[in-house]
């Protein structure tokens, strides 16, 4: 018996000894919490925000966003493209930086851009999303006198083409097509709507085989990009390590500022799905940076003595909003007065306090209040006013019955009851709180609302099919583009316009906003759009998140911003440990 206990004790001791060592940390590494594995780092796929952040360390686009200044800036390109219009075409002329080099020392030239566009349009590759997103680029014209200059030929015209046309990672031709065989196939052949058969082009078929065999999903280093980092380790579901290149091309430049700055020698993304564990890891010093901290934890940490001593806390007004949408295609929400009435049942200030501890801000509509020139501040913010809701319901012909419920006669002589459901992603505490608040407020004035928490895949198909009354969801905006057609144009019904809203006037206004190039006139149209959306109320913006970030005190120059991921990993300077 005693031997058994000794043996057991020894086993546990052997197990514990190595664990007593604190986690190793290299002082030149910046360790960031990631909530999940990026799954694939294939530059053609970019399945999520995390993959996007990682791919930005390995590859470079022609243009990128300076998150802090919130403007598009040239990255591999010398400057933003020169725009020319020719009939129904838009011509965008770019010139690549003369210093830009691949890892093997070869300059990055226009042929690499043409190669990338061919890869993005080739059949048999995982490029469906990229191909669709950049389908407006029809052809590329190379400059015969300047290897670094080229013109993208784009179908139609839209102000967004200027930056959209440069927003994809440029791939090295030498690594995947050393014999330059793809140069024999014009880009225009691949971008035509009718699919190209690989059997017609044996050269292309060979290339597709080579690309797929490179297994870039897990081994992006088989296709070395021009970015400042190399992926040195990827333990699935655990961590990714990026090491700074010692001879990155931008190091030779005399003036170095973002996005051509890469300070940390090593970046470790530690995958910790659970928030409580991530918090513990931050407090133990196992990670240096915890982005998107939940509101409660952020406040608790910010007020604790240990937290104040070891960490710095940042918030930034984001463009990510929580909104409620109404199904405008079916009774009882197919009239605007009923929808307006429901707007007054959301207690937005209380919701901001309850779900975000006050770290969010309201907005009159889809335009962010940070965009002062475009935001319609003449519109009042929505207030919690059930009495006002009742007034509007009566105007919409609803009558309160003896039992407290609301009914109205329909055109067919039948009686319609005001009973609703609210659909949202199951398991999301913020949505649950909002749904409960709405249900309680509605119940007070006699409107029964049933909660329908739904699994996310099912939710998407239900929303697309219009099988709901009210939905809750988050939507990411940005300060660059104002095309509302995916969510509010009648042509997007059954695709992504879940509210199924769309009147001839709203469709016309949305298209006018997209086409308008003059900033003053665009602002005017956008202000008009906000008024129209308040009147029609297909959606109501409840609040916009403030991003919350906690970081080790020794990290400086995080360039915290309201655009994802909320900080600039490449500019962070870790101070030496004292």
């Amino acid at each position: 018996m005693r031997r058994l206990i000794w043996g057991l004790g020894l086993y546990i001791l052997i197990g514990l000894l190595p664990a007593c060592n604190p986690q190793a940390s290299s002082s030149d590494a910046v360790r960031v919490r990631w909530v999940r594995d990026p799954e694939s780092l294939n530059p053609l796929i970019i399945p999520n925000d995390l993959a996007n952040q990682a791919i930005g360390l390995l590859y470079q686009n022609l243009l990128t966003v300076d998150n802090q200044k919130q403007v598009w800036v040239p990255w591999l390109a010398e400057k933003l493209p020169a725009v020319q219009h020719q009939d129904s075409l838009t011509l965008l002329t770019y010139r690549l930086r003369s210093a830009a080099r691949w890892d093997n020392g070869q300059p990055i030239v226009a042929q690499d851009v043409a190669f990338t566009l061919k890869v993005m349009n080739s059949p048999g590759l995982p490029n469906e999303a990229a191909r669709t997103r950049f389908s407006f680029i029809q052809d590329v014209r190379l400059d015969s006198t300047d290897a670094r200059q080229f013109t993208l030929v784009c179908r139609g015209r839209a102000p967004e083409y200027v930056h959209d046309s440069g927003d994809y990672p440029i791939l090295p031709e030498y690594a995947l097509d050393p014999k330059r065989e793809l140069r024999t196939i014009p880009l225009a052949v691949l971008t035509q709507p009718a699919p190209v058969s690989l059997s017609q082009y044996p050269v292309l078929a060979d290339f597709v085989r080579r690309y797929n065999a490179a297994n870039l999903d897990k081994n992006p280093m088989n296709l070395p990009g021009s970015g400042p980092y190399q992926l040195t380790a990827w333990r699935s579901g655990q961590a990714l390590t990026f090491r700074r290149k010692t001879n990155w091309w931008a190091d030779q430049l005399s003036v170095r500022q973002p996005p051509l700055l890469a300070v940390p020698k090593q970046i470790d993304f530690q995958i910790i799905p659970d928030n409580a564990t991530a918090l513990l890891a931050l407090r133990r010093g196992d990670i240096d940076l915890y982005p998107m901290v939940p509101a409660n934890e952020f406040d608790r940490l910010r007020t604790s003595e240990n937290g104040k001593q070891a960490l710095r806390f940042y918030t930034a007004d984001s463009y990510e909003m929580v909104l409620a949408g109404f199904n405008t295609s079916r009774a009882p929400l197919n009239d605007r007065l009923t929808r307006q009435a429901l707007n007054y049942l959301f207690d937005i200030q209380a919701l901001i306090k309850a779900t975000q501890n006050g770290m969010a801000y309201p907005s009159v509509g889809l335009i962010n209040p940070q965009e002062k020139a475009l935001y319609n501040d003449s519109l009042p913010l929505l207030t919690f006013a059930p009495q006002q809701a009742e007034v509007l319901l009566r105007q919409a012909n609803w009558a309160r019955q003896g039992a407290g419920n609301w009914t109205r006669p329909t055109a067919g002589g039948q009686i319609q009851a005001l009973e609703l459901t609210i659909t949202y992603r199951a398991g999301d505490a913020t949505f649950e709180t909002i749904a409960l608040q709405l249900r309680n407020a509605a119940a007070q004035i006699g409107i029964p609302i049933q909660l329908r928490p739904t699994e996310s895949t099912l939710l998407l198909s239900k929303l697309r099919a219009g099988d709901f009354d009210i939905y809750l969801r988050t939507l990411s905006g940005n300060p660059f583009a104002y095309d509302f057609s995916p969510i509010l144009h009648s042509s997007s019904i059954d695709i992504s316009n879940f509210t199924r809203f769309g009147t001839p006037a709203s469709d016309k206004l949305i298209k006018a906003i997209v086409r308008e190039e003059d900033p003053a006139r665009k602002a005017q149209l956008l202000r008009k759009f906000q008024v129209m959306m308040r009147t029609e109320s297909p959606i109501v913006v409840l609040f916009v998140y403030r991003y919350r970030l906690a970081a080790d005190r020794r990290l400086t120059n995080l360039r915290v911003s309201g655009l994802r991921p909320g900080y600039d990993i490449t500019t962070i300077e870790p101070l030496p440990e004292s």
Binding site: M1, L4, I5, L8, G15, L16, L17, P18, A19, P22, Q23, A24, E39, S40, P47, G124, P126, E128, A129, A130, R131, R133, A158, P193, P195, N215, D217, K218, R235, Q238, D268, Q270, I272, D274, A276, T277, A278, L280, R284, D286, N306, L366, T457, L460, S461, L475, G477, N478, A481, D483, F484, S485, P486, I487, H489, S491, S492, D494, I495, S496
Partner: protein, 219 residues
């Protein structure tokens, strides 16, 4: 005995085939829209809109790449003006391709990461197997030792404590262990997550090092 075992094993084959076939066919009834990824859904505002035709064409290309286009089974049913028509699809169907690959050991590829399913399984088993076997071994040794101790007159309070732990939901035990043994305010003995940063370099010792917390959390 040997014949009995072989007989029992052979009997599981049809059951396994029926279950995996059912799972396969059920999985094919799920919407494939998610495969389009976030690029084509509408999480972002202000991005360029796509037409219904573009969306359909993209979805078809995704389905073709993943082998999800074409008939699912040997026969299918179509509805037309003349009524329901049954159609024989021959061996050119998704189920036939999947089954013939599966019996050769090719379980297909992950839609998310593009990796072979066998590789994904192997990677997970690399951690699952040592953790579960160590946990089972430790649990057995500990339970035998504690049982003997109690029989030989160990403290009765111990039994009450063990009953108490058994009654608690596992996630509470896991969270309690995490906050107790990986907390800088209490006992910072274990790594808070994963296998520890040193872990991959000296693998054998580290499985034990993270054992208790990881097992507790993984359950």
């Amino acid at each position: 005995m040997g014949r009995f075992l072989v007989y029992r094993l052979l009997r599981t084959i049809p059951a396994t085939w029926a279950i995996v076939s059912l799972v396969f066919l059920l999985s094919r009834t799920l919407p494939t829209d998610v495969l389009l990824g976030q690029a084509l859904t509408d999480k972002g505002l202000g991005s360029r809109s796509i037409t219904a035709a573009e969306r359909e064409a993209t979805l078809l290309r995704v389905q073709q790449r993943f082998g999800l286009a074409g008939p699912v089974f040997y026969f299918s049913r179509t509805h037309s003006n003349t009524g329901t028509v049954w159609q024989w699809n021959g061996t050119d169907n998704q189920y036939h391709r999947w089954l013939s690959n599966a019996v050769q050991g090719d379980l297909g590829q992950s839609y998310r990461s593009g990796q072979p399913v066998t590789a994904v399984l192997a990677e997970a088993l690399r951690f699952t197997l040592p953790l579960t076997t160590s946990a089972a071994l430790l649990a057995t040794l500990l339970s035998v030792a504690l049982a003997l101790w109690l029989v030989c007159g160990g403290p009765a309070l111990l039994l009450s404590i063990l009953y108490g732990i058994d009654a608690l939901p596992l996630f509470v035990v896991a969270l309690g262990l995490l906050l107790l043994l990986a907390n800088p305010d209490f006992i910072s003995l274990f790594p808070a997550y994963g296998m520890g940063q040193q872990a991959t370099k000296n693998a054998p010792g580290t499985f034990k090092s993270a054992l208790i917390c990881t097992i507790a959390r993984s359950r």
